[in-house]
């Protein structure tokens, strides 16, 4: 006997763990991110505030820029005379932005839901002097980085297996990106140089 029934799957789904990524955006290699970015800066995040403009609410985080890698930060949306990140309030899948967090920001200048290149990918926090990825991976990278010398260039992306590039103590890290497109230098100066190299020395 064949008998059909309807399950209220949505009710059951409420208890289901969602996948880590909450938004569909293809992964972009760092070189591509660097080329697509309008502005690349090393900066520190200020305290985020909620701002409603023309009926749309944004979470606005001011940026204190310490170094311009590419582009002009003045072209970014401004808040109280300072460049700022405008992220659409209620949006899932964007990096958690904490006041005081320093990092590299690869950004689009126009006003859109998320200013990060790759939607969420263009943010690389600097943790314990190392460039990381946001989220748990950043903590892992930060923890593991304590066992390496400052000159060691270590891929931190999950997919970066078996492609560690290690520099010699006292030797500057390479200015080019590792062969693995998902890997990147963790030394901030090397990371900056790699970004510039990806943009063709701009």
């Amino acid at each position: 006997m064949k008998r059909a029934r309807t399950l209220l799957a949505a009710l059951a789904l409420g208890a289901a763990p969602l996948l880590a990524e909450a938004t569909t955006a293809p992964t972009l290699p760092l070189t591509q991110q660097a080329r697509k970015a309008t502005v690349i800066v090393r900066a520190t995040l200020g305290t985020p505030t909620r701002v409603t403009e023309e009926g749309v609410t944004w979470v606005v985080s001011p940026l204190t820029v310490s170094e311009v890698v590419a582009g002009d930060p003045a072209t970014l949306p401004q808040r109280e005379g300072q460049p700022a990140l405008y992220v659409l309030a209620g949006l899932e899948g964007v990096p958690e932005l904490r006041a005081g967090q320093e990092g590299f920001f690869l950004l689009y200048a126009g006003r859109m839901d998320s200013p990060f290149v790759g939607f969420s990918q263009g943010f690389y926090p600097i943790v314990n002097g190392k460039v990381t990825r946001p989220g748990p991976a950043a903590e892992t990278a930060a923890t593991s980085s304590t066992a390496t010398t400052p000159e060691t260039t270590t891929p931190t992306a999950p997919a970066a297996t078996g492609t560690t590039t290690t520099g010699t103590a006292g030797t500057p890290p390479p200015a080019t990106l590792p062969a693995d497109p998902n890997a990147f230098p963790t030394d901030p100066a090397a990371f900056r140089d790699a970004l510039r190299a990806a943009r063709g020395g701009q």
């Binding site: 309807t6 938004t23 209620g90 899948g93 998320s114």
Partner: protein, 172 residues
Amino acid sequence: MRRVGALALALLAGMASAASVKLRPQGAELTRAVEAALAAISTPETPVTLDTSGGPLLVLGGTVPFNPDVAARTLTLGGERRIEFNPQGPLPLAEALRAELTRELGLREWTPAAARVRLSGADLNGDGTIDLTDLALLMNNYGKTGALAGDLNGDRRVDDADVRLFSAQYRF
């Protein structure tokens, strides 16, 4: 003994079950795309149908400009969950839709097998397979009342009806 008998009968019954997913696609194009996507994970034994009485809103486009690298975004506005698809995004609508729904429905992949496991409710421990561990969980609550693991038909009791539903999903 009666429980074992009921289980054996149910396992032999080979019944089919259907699952409906609650989504609210807006517009004809998106509705057609959702129906096509659900058809791709349906089988005669486990049809998956669209229930538009609830669930997140699915919208093509949005009021705020999209990041050019995003195919779809999820946001909550005024307490309402929305999945908005970028008309100029990097992926075709059908592909973006499958990716979003795979995540939204908690499927491992967009296949009939993954849908059967996830949507049947028989994967009681949520490990991605329907096996004897799930059956043990159900039988542990057999004869009990309340919102319990194994109450597959949602009638707040675990009984032969739930065993029969489980049997429709279990594969030796």
